[in-house]
């Protein structure tokens, strides 16, 4: 354990001076002691520091911009898109102080002029601290710096590199919206081993400590013997830097060989499963190639098999005009089984009547109805944990949507490395030509500054710009010639996100 002393001595100088004068020189800013590098320790150390506010006596308190606000069952809720506490419901004294601050009350000259303060100074500062801790109020510069440090530590997860390993381009389904070119073949097992070994070494050299391989296709279960052999082989693979490895299967779930089921049950293989709805809603798009039969019944059996063995597959729901009417049913299906799931709006949807403005309106309307239903029928588990819209969970600002060009690569069946399986499958290199992980992280085609709609004036004033993260940058690139332009799904985000936030607020109120 490292003993770290973090002295926040650079609070706004005059405020520290004022505070020192008011407290006979005893308050010189906030001193935090971290007893380990554990990211939680700094947060624990920061808790209960409302006394510090009272010592300081005067602070600047500003309402953040942007800040979304709404009412659910007559109760106000707030959501700071740049915050880290998600949706916050306020009642009683907290709402009273929030309204005072929203009306322009200033604390710069001291809190003594506030009636609430005069009634109960201790409670006043406790509430002020709570609002600041939930990031509904921005306090003085120093406090903001403390919060920034907390969030930097929160983000400091194990550095992970994600690899989409295209085990095969073949598939037993023929989904109208699929982006994979089915004409190609499969990845030989020896090539798969070489790729894994090389990328793990490259990732280690590039400073990553963990690599997640997403075993994908096509349908990777058509290569299930390779899946098993690859994972078994990796257990004994030379790994001098001790890079942690994890494997995740992205499957259509139409069949589950016993040896793969065992791997999933043992935890050696994670599983995500594509399910676009219940019954006809799923079958409308996801049919067998050989006879056109819908695949829901078989996938339902696979899910039952997994659930019986205490495995909860992650459900990926791809939303288009043909299944948007069934979202409530699939949400209910997942809630009942305790399955975590997400809704992704299709991007290459023109083949099945999507992608138009009318289609987007229909999709937005269906999503909105589903979130209204969720608000009235919240799951047993926290909605934050069990569901995402796109990859949005409201607990972190999104400055970029995914790891494209940063910590994600796709490797084709013949060993070509590219940035994204869907939008940019043209290889930038072969896996064995230099350090391909560095090539991905060092590429300049998609820089972070180009992401998040930063280049579109329509995004700059939007309250949701740090929630949607600008949508898929490559989707925007494909439509507008620049990843920085607003997402082609912008109107969907704008219509649906308020309902998505409200569903979270409702769950807080009913206490589930």
């Amino acid at each position: 354990l490292a003993l770290l002393l973090l002295e926040c001595v650079d609070y706004s100088r005059h405020r520290v001076q004022n505070a020192a004068e008011k407290t006979n020189g005893k308050a010189g800013g906030l001193r935090l002691i971290m007893i380990s590098k554990d990211q939680l320790s700094i947060e624990a150390a920061a808790r209960g520091k409302w006394e510090w506010l009272r010592q300081i006596g005067c602070v600047s308190a500003e309402i953040p911009d942007p800040l979304a606000e709404g009412l659910v069952d007559g109760v106000p809720y707030f959501y700071n898109p740049l915050g880290h506490r998600g949706v916050v419901v306020l009642r009683g004294d907290s709402l009273r102080l929030m309204r005072l601050l929203q009306s322009g009350m200033k604390l710069d000259a001291g809190a003594e002029e506030c009636e609430f303060y005069r009634e109960n100074a201790t409670r006043f500062f406790k509430v002020l601290y709570a609002l600041a801790d939930c990031e509904l109020v921005q306090l003085s510069d120093g406090f903001s710096k403390l919060q920034e440090e907390q969030h930097r530590l929160r983000r400091q997860k194990v550095e992970t590199f994600y690899v989409w390993l295209q085990l095969t381009d073949r598939c037993n389904l023929a989904c109208g919206y699929c982006f994979v070119d089915k004409r190609s073949g499969s990845m030989p097992i020896d090539l798969a081993k070489e790729i894994v070994k090389k990328i793990v070494a490259d990732a280690g050299d590039a400073g990553f400590r963990r690599v997640v391989f997403k075993l994908a296709g096509g349908e990777p279960m058509l290569q299930y013997r390779s899946v098993k052999e690859l994972i078994d082989w990796c257990g004994a693979m030379p790994n001098p830097k001790g890079i942690a490895l994890r494997f995740a299967l992205l499957t259509n779930g139409t069949f589950m060989p016993a040896e793969i089921l065992d791997m999933v049950v043992s935890g050696r293989l994670g599983i995500s499963l594509s399910l676009d709805g219940v019954g006809k809603w799923h079958d409308s798009a996801r049919r067998y190639k050989k006879d056109g039969r819908g695949s829901f019944a078989d996938i339902d059996k696979t899910i039952s098999l997994l659930v019986e063995r205490n495995v909860k597959p992650y459900i990926l729901v791809t939303v288009g005009v043909d299944n948007v009417g069934g979202l409530q049913e699939i949400a209910e299906y997942c809630f009942e089984r305790g399955l975590r799931f997400r809704f992704n709006v299709r991007r290459l949807d023109r083949a099945v009547g999507g992608g138009t403005e009318d289609a987007n309106k229909e999709i937005a309307s269906g999503l909105r109805l589903c979130y209204e239903w969720m608000a009235s029928n919240p799951p047993r588990e926290s909605l934050y944990a069990c569901h995402k819209f796109s990859n949005i969970h409201l607990l972190q600002p999104k400055r970029r949507v995914c790891g494209v060009g940063a910590n994600t690569a796709m490797v084709s069946t013949v060993g070509g490395v590219s940035l994204c399986p869907q939008y940019d499958p043209v290889p930038i290199a072969r896996f064995d030509s230099g350090n391909v992980v560095r090539m991905v992280t060092g590429q300049s085609r998609f820089e972070a500054k180009d992401i998040n709609g930063a280049g579109d004036p329509a995004c700059r004033g939007c309250v949701w710009r740090f929630t949607c993260g600008g949508g898929c940058p490559l989707h925007a690139f494909a439509h507008n010639g620049a990843g920085s332009r607003r997402s082609p799904h912008c109107n969907i985000f704008r219509e649906v996100l308020p309902c998505f936030v409200k569903a979270h607020a409702k769950q807080l109120i009913v206490g589930k």
Partner: protein, 32 residues
Amino acid sequence: MEYEDLGVICVADGDALEVIASSGSEDEQDCD
């Protein structure tokens, strides 16, 4: 929730951290 007595209701910080920590796992697959 630590601030409920003050009228503040939000997700517990530990639960929020858990959601953030699980982001980026296989469930982060973001392609159609």
